[in-house]
């Protein structure tokens, strides 16, 4: 690549990132406090978690990796499946396409807003666990990677699900829950992956949530299953595949 081309591309990339950030900012302003986002992204996972965990004879601190993983999973995957069909229904998504914003940057903007929402929400149970329920961090690297890469990967999963052909948010949310509910049980959220039966451990390989959950267990001092390197690589791979698939799916919308 000669230097002239490189110089021409750099501002275009920065310009694209600024526009992606503007889209993320707009989404934060509009969608973070929407009742549907709060219910499906915050209330729902906490309610499900306690429905499954209350009464089980386990240490309270051992519940927190699963709780953090579940809130991270649900909160991060809720934003785009609500906002994208909402904007398609109101035709406001089209406004993004009228502007000189490339589709990859428009998708990135949506991913950033979901990522930040998931990040904020998943920090709540972490802080509560650390302050009041005896959780303690054993491996800061694993914990940070689990939260950051898990959020990033699952934000892309939400984005990909939001590209299904459906004209209203409830229809996309229905598809979302069809995907989320089975994943919730096969990703080590309620039972750590090492404690799952053999077939459960095999299935866990196919869920991106498993790798985020595994890093959280490791970070909070519990036994992990995949190891940090595999978890990080798998989360990155899922992230790239789902991001590219989202962009390609959106390209087909108006062809």
């Amino acid at each position: 690549m000669d230097s002239e081309v490189f110089e021409a591309r750099e501002p275009a990339l920065l310009d694209g990132l600024r526009k992606a950030w503007a889209i993320a900012g707009k989404d934060m302003r509009i969608y973070y406090l929407q009742p549907a986002v709060l219910i499906f992204g915050l209330v729902f996972p906490i309610a499900i978690f306690f429905a499954f965990m209350i009464g089980r004879d386990v240490q309270t601190a051992s519940l927190f990796p699963g709780l953090i993983a579940l809130t991270l999973f649900f909160s991060t995957t809720t934003v785009a499946p609500f906002s994208v069909p909402w904007e398609r229904m109101n035709r406001t998504f089209e406004r993004l396409l009228f502007a000189p914003v490339s589709l990859p940057m428009a998708v990135l903007g949506k991913v950033i807003s979901a990522f930040l929402f998931g990040l904020a929400v998943s920090l709540v149970p972490l802080v509560l666990g650390l302050l009041f329920f005896g959780s303690h961090i054993q491996d800061y690297g694993a914990l940070v990677l689990g939260i950051i890469l898990g959020n990033l990967c699952l934000a892309n999963m939400g984005m990909l699900i939001s590209t299904v052909r459906a004209d209203t948010p409830p229809k996309v949310m229905m598809v979302l829950n069809v995907v989320r509910l089975p994943l919730m049980f096969m990703s080590g959220i309620f039972l750590a992956i090492p404690t799952l039966p053999y077939w459960g451990r095999v299935i866990a390989w196919f869920s991106p949530v498993s790798y985020a959950t595994d890093l959280l267990y490791k970070g909070l001092g519990f036994q992990d299953y995949f190891g940090i390197v595999i978890s990080v690589l798998m989360l990155l791979a899922f992230t790239v595949v789902m991001y590219v698939a989202s962009v390609l799916r959106m390209r087909t919308w108006n062809r």
């Binding site: 707009k26 089209e94 993004l96 502007a99």
Partner: protein, 321 residues
């Protein structure tokens, strides 16, 4: 590149198939810099598909288009940076305030914070939106939302604006305000591509008009020349001092040069290609019948006549075919 091509917009054999349905059929036209170009056609004629191809929201199946000399597919982002668009169905963000809709639009066009705040403030004044600037768009009236949509479309000072049914559903004063804005912006050199069902609006605003029907461009000319082409649609309208008897109506309809008589609410409208011949026979008729005229007017063909003639011709041709 750019202005060197001489045309602001060029469509060259632009064609769109949706599966086997031919929505736009090899249309070719050019729009000059600073022109207001009307694009008329009945519902489903291919207007929206044409605009969407020009904006690269959908890919042409065949043909190409250029805006300011830039290919709409290859240079899509550069084209979009120079174009503003106001769709028929509002796509402003209902949850954002007037001010935030404007500043967000500015951010999408890469305007810096200070620049977009200043421009938003300027447009709020220009479009008389100051008292509504902090209200959410969902709370605005239809006329105000339309004004906001146009303000958003010019936030980045585009050189070409696509306006889809700009005054549809608006009251008279809002519609007039929008037409005045179009004239003002056009006076500053902005080129307009205007689709409308309002013939009067097209007649008032457009330098040239293209008529599209069943995906095919069937006429492109000035409103006056298009009307000349429908010369047989001229009308002599007479109002008399009393209602005519049936025999008199029959005699009137038989006047030389009258192709059709349309009595309506005391008015007698005679369709003709030669009003002078009608008038030659009309005075002797009134004299014989002892009738006095209250008013006699000759009316040229309206753009609506032209539109109906052209588009119904298309239907017949399609039906024949």
């Amino acid at each position: 590149m750019m202005e060197g091509s001489g045309a602001a917009v060029t469509a060259n054999g632009l064609t769109k198939y949706y599966d086997s349905l031919l929505a736009v059929d090899h249309i070719t036209f050019e729009i000059a810099h600073g022109e207001i170009f009307g694009f008329l056609g009945p519902n489903g004629a291919g207007k929206t598909s044409t605009i969407r191809m020009l904006m690269n929201l959908i890919r042409p199946s065949e043909g190409s288009a250029a805006i300011l000399g830039m290919d709409t597919v290859r240079d899509s982002l550069a084209v979009k940076a120079q174009v503003g668009i106001v769709p028929e169905v509002s796509n402003i963000f209902p949850e954002l305030s007037t001010l935030n809709n404007l500043t967000f639009t500015g951010a999408l066009y890469g305007m810096g914070r200070r620049n977009r705040m200043a421009r938003a403030s300027e447009l709020i004044d220009l479009f008389d939106l100051a008292e509504h600037q902090h209200r959410k768009a969902v709370e605005l009236s239809m006329g105000l939302r339309r004004r906001l949509a146009i303000a958003m479309s010019i936030m980045h000072r585009p050189r070409i604006i696509f306006l889809d049914e700009p005054t549809s559903g608006l009251d008279v004063s809002s519609a007039r305000a929008i037409r005045d804005t179009v004239r003002e912006l056009n006076g500053e050199g902005v080129t307009f591509f205007l689709t409308t069902h309002n013939m009067d609006e097209a007649n008032q605003l457009c330098r040239r008009i293209a008529v599209i029907n069943r995906g095919r461009l069937i006429a492109v000319d000035t409103p006056e020349r298009l009307k000349q082409a429908a010369a047989e649609s001229q009308v002599v309208e007479a109002v008399f001092d009393r209602e005519l008897e049936p025999a008199e109506v029959e005699e009137l309809s038989g006047l030389e040069g009258c192709s059709q008589l349309l009595p309506e609410a005391g008015k007698y409208r005679m369709r003709t290609s030669d009003p002078a011949r009608i008038l030659q026979g009309l005075y002797p008729f009134m004299h014989r019948s002892g009738i006095k005229p209250v008013s006699i007017n000759t009316l040229g063909p309206s753009l609506e006549d032209v539109f109906i003639r052209l588009t119904e011709g298309g239907k017949e041709a399609a039906g024949d075919g």
